[in-house]
Amino acid sequence: MITAKDLTKKFDSFTALNSLNCSIPEGCIYGMVGSNGAGKSTLLRLISGIYRADGGSVEIDGKNVYDDPEVKNRLVFVPDELYFLPRANLIRMARLYASVYERFSYDKFKNLVRTFKLSPTANIGTFSKGMKRQAATILALSCNADFILFDETFDGLDPVMRNLVKNLLYDDVMERKATAVITSHSLRELEDTCDQLSLLHKGGIIFESDIGNLKTSLFKVQVAFSGEYDRSKFQGVDMLSFTKHGSVSSLIVRGDREETAAKIKAMDPILFEILPLSLEEVFVYEMDALGYEFSEVLKQEVE
């Protein structure tokens, strides 16, 4: 398990992470979403032991990561800005990884190279942006690390490759009980990939939840009654939002679906329907409830 306690990181006068707390369980795909400058990359660099925290700590299974090769051998980080040796091909890079990562598997490397259909002998410098990211993914997955950290994983990948990477991640998580931590500024990108999701804003996690729960515990109810009514009619229902157009109201409710349905049906509505919310809608309402303006937190998403 990755645990961050009161994690603080400053760059001169700018505070990138401010007393951040989070725990990432093993065997899951953990998504982190946030706008540029929210602190996603900084958090990943702290988790992978690249940065030294200015305050608090980040630990993997109770061990501090920074300058501990034993812990670092259990994780691999694919940054947003990739690095390959000058004029190196995939084989040369594999040799580099193999020389430092104890669990690097050449068999897996060969399989992945075949799967991605990349030339192992071609100069990586001549690869397109997407191909470079594929190359980095191949190398990272070949390390057989317990924790795989991806920063802006799907940036530059076409839809086919995105699905391929996602499937490979699923395989690793399922087969080896690995943990993947993925950041993106696109909520939609992570929606169908992650088990858990957190939202970073201005150096802190403002929201963290299991995606399954998130989607089932927050839903939209459309209801109409024959007579006049207002918000007060729904006392006992945990509403995040209430809007009324004519006799039809839309409610964003948090709680158990069956229980809520039973409560509203008992009020004898002339129209009653429960609608699922997209993850984005869930976030909008949750943010709203927390007092954040969603468009501010995820600017790019809105744009």
Binding site: F11, R45, S48, G49, I50, Y51, R52, D67, P69, E70, V71, K72, N73, F77, P79, E81, L82, Y83, L85, R95, L96, A98, S99, V100, Y101, E102
Partner: protein
């Protein structure tokens, strides 16, 4: 060891530096081709045309390699620290930072050791294979020094990389770390010397305080410092090697500490801390200002224009560094007031120099605390010395003698005190004329002191009474040595040398001394002849005493008749027939004309040599025409145009060779073998007194001949 070196990273780093390592080693090795060609061209040549390589001539190529490749490889190995993405990648690797650092340093050093060793082995082999004289012990010393020097450069560059984050600052920081500390020590010494130039002539007084002050104790900084204070390295000085090694290790360890503290996010920033940036900035601005201050202390305030220019240049260097390194005019403006620190340091230096000078004057030397004294060659540390085998065997052997007889020590102590006491506001009254190392109970000091003539004479007498000095002064060189006799090959000279050594050892000290040439600065440039003395032949002994090269010149004369006879015998045997044939050919040409022949004749013995000096004449086509035109008799033969010379040639051609030194006249012929070269042939001809007198008379009658040598061109 495992905690310092990561096996996988070692392999990886070795691979990464492979190209740079091999290419640089190949370039270094290629320089051996030049060495080979140079050395090959001296094979079989008389040592007159050859000098055993000195440290000063052996070191530059390796030193350049150490400077350039040391920095290049270190920047390659640690270059990732300058770019954020690379820095993140390497910091993310599952390797301890300590291991990353030391593994990198070791790999860099390994490549440098490979390069230097390959070069050194091939270099030495060239001399072994070609059988040319070479001081292997000295070369080993130079090689060892270069390895340590490589560590110093790598340490400095590693430290620079660890504290800075751009290539520009890497380079400046490396230069500052390598050179500025030594520069500060040296300039302080120069300051002190400028206050009292006679405090110790070439041995600046502060050098004796601590090895830190001694610029010869730093292999890497010395060539640079020699621009300032004319010093060179003694490549056999183990103390200097240890000092330099320890200093290098300190740099490596400081680099390690800085590397551990360094954060990945420092990549791209000029330095990892503002203090480092300030130090480098000040170090960049300081040198010119210190030079100005030194000039003001040494020569007075000087012209205002000079002061303004120097301050301005210093300020520009200071500000420009800040602007380029930070790429911010705002930061440059903010840093400007810091220039005052440079000025404050200069002021501090002046105060420090005067303070240390005063302290040095207070050092007491009495016959109670003095244990010995050593003679010091004033110019021992000069740069030129490192390029020449200037010292004689006796000088090298005697310079380590510590004289400790009571009377000598009393003279030294008295002279020392007189020298110090003579200092007043107007300077010294007793001008120092003798440099000694005074061994005291406590710290040894080197001082230039004033000795009266009587004291000098007495010290010489006392030295003459010292067996160690006598052994050093009058013994023939021992150990590995090579002989050189003019016009004889190495092997022939060796035969003469062995005979000479036997004869020399049986002579009295006075006789031995009379055979030795005056050692001195111009000895290497002197002609083989001893001006004003009856000797046409000299024996030069080149050799190595430990790592030091020496050369001694001895006369071959009546005191060593067997050696001289041996030399004549070898010459006559080798050249007699050739000379005879050449003379016949010249006479035939002089009488009958035909294709022109160039030739020079030099009478190299005794009064002939004295009277006529170098007499040479030429009958080249061009010269002959000039001569004929002058006489308007273009069809005349040489015997008619130059009857005096013709007669001389006839006398010479009739003479037989002789090995008897008492009878012969050494005649040296230079006969062209091609357009650009000539063969020098000398023989000892049996000329009668009347023949010699006739030649002298004929030469006297030549137009233009007076006291100076006559040249026909």
């Amino acid at each position: 060891m495992k905690s310092l070196i990561h096996r996988g990273y070692f392999k990886e780093m070795f691979r990464q530096l492979k190209v740079a390592g091999i290419v640089s080693a190949a370039i270094l090795m290629a320089s051996n081709i030049v060495t080979f060609l140079n050395v090959a061209s001296t094979v079989g040549l008389n040592l007159e045309y050859y000098s055993i390589p000195t440290g000063g001539s052996l070191a530059p190529v390796m030193l350049a390699y150490v400077y350039v490749v040391g920095v290049l490889l270190t920047f390659s190995a640690f270059g990732w620290m300058n770019k954020r993405s690379l820095s993140d990648f390497y910091h993310g690797l599952p390797i301890k930072r300590t291991q990353i650092y030391f593994t990198s340093v070791i790999v860099i050093m390994l490549w440098m050791i490979i390069g230097l060793t390959a070069y050194a082995v091939v270099h030495a082999l060239i001399y072994v294979v070609l059988g040319v004289p070479f001081n292997y012990l000295l070369f080993l010393g130079v090689y060892a020094n270069m390895l340590i020097g490589a560590l110093e450069v790598v340490g400095a560059a590693s430290l620079a990389c660890a504290i800075s984050g751009t290539r520009f600052v890497n380079l400046f920081a490396t230069a500052v770390i390598l050179f500025v500390p030594r520069f500060l020590f040296s300039i302080l010494a120069v300051f002190i010397n400028s206050i009292d130039q006679n405090l110790s002539s070439s041995h600046l007084v502060v050098w004796s305080i601590s090895v830190f002050f001694n610029p010869t104790y730093n292999i890497i900084a010395t060539p640079y410092n020699s621009l300032l204070s004319f010093v060179s390295i003694d490549y056999a000085n183990v103390g200097a090697m240890i000092y330099c090694f320890v200093y290098s290790m300190i740099l490596v360890l400081l680099g390690w500490r800085a590397f551990l503290k360094r954060r990945s996010e420092a990549a791209g920033n000029p330095t990892t801390s503002k203090i480092y940036q300030s130090i480098i900035r000040i170090a960049v601005g300081l040198p010119l200002l210190l030079v100005l201050t030194y000039s003001m202390v040494a020569d007075g305030v000087g012209s205002l224009a000079f002061i303004v220019i120097m301050v301005l240049l210093s300020f520009i260097a200071y500000s420009l560094y800040e602007l380029i390194s930070t790429k911010s005019a705002k930061k440059m403006a903010k840093a400007m007031p810091g220039f005052l620190i440079c000025i404050a340091i200069c002021a501090l230096y002046v105060g420090l120099a005067y303070g240390i000078t005063r302290l040095e004057y207070n050092v007491k030397v009495t016959d109670k605390n003095i244990t010995a004294y050593q003679e010091i060659d004033d110019s021992e540390y000069t740069v030129l010395d490192s390029y020449m085998n200037r010292k004689s065997y006796s000088e090298i052997k005697s310079e380590s003698i510590k004289y400790n007889d009571k009377e000598s020590l009393e003279i030294i102590a008295k002279a020392y005190q007189r020298t110090i006491d003579s200092i007043d506001a107007e300077g010294r009254k007793a001008v120092p004329n003798y440099t000694v190392k005074i061994c005291r109970k406590g710290r040894d000091i080197i001082r230039a002191i004033n000795l009266t003539n009587a004291e000098q004479t007495r010290l010489e007498e006392l030295r003459e009474a010292d067996k160690r000095y006598v052994d050093a002064a009058y013994s023939f060189p021992e150990g590995m040595k090579y002989y050189s006799v003019t016009y004889l090959s190495l092997a022939e000279a060796k035969q003469v040398g062995r005979v000479f050594e036997e004869e020399f050892n049986s002579l009295t000290n006075e006789q031995k001394l009379s055979l030795k040439s005056n050692s001195g600065w111009f000895r290497d440039y002197d002609d083989i002849y001893f001006e004003g003395e009856e000797s046409a032949f000299t024996l030069t002994v080149y050799g190595c005493l430990g790592a030091k090269n020496y050369s001694d010149i001895y006369k071959l004369n009546g005191l060593t008749p067997r050696a001289l006879a041996k030399a004549y015998e070898l010459l006559n045997e080798k050249n007699g027939k050739k000379v005879k044939d050449a003379l016949d050919k010249i006479i035939d040409w002089a009488e009958n004309g035909g294709e022109h022949i160039d030739f020079d004749i030099n009478f190299g013995k005794s009064e002939l040599s004295q009277r006529f000096g170098w007499i040479s004449f030429s009958s080249s086509k061009y010269c002959n025409m000039m001569y004929e035109n002058m006489k308007q008799e273009s069809s005349m033969k040489f015997k008619d145009t130059d009857p005096e010379i013709y007669e001389i040639l006839k006398i010479l051609s009739k003479a037989e060779t002789t090995n008897d030194p008492g009878k012969g006249v050494l005649v040296i012929f230079e006969i062209p073998t091609s357009v650009y070269s000539y063969e020098r042939l000398s023989v000892n001809l049996d000329l009668s007194e009347s023949d010699v007198a006739r030649i002298a008379a004929l030469l006297s009658s030549l137009q233009g001949y007076e006291d100076e040598p006559v040249y026909y061109d």
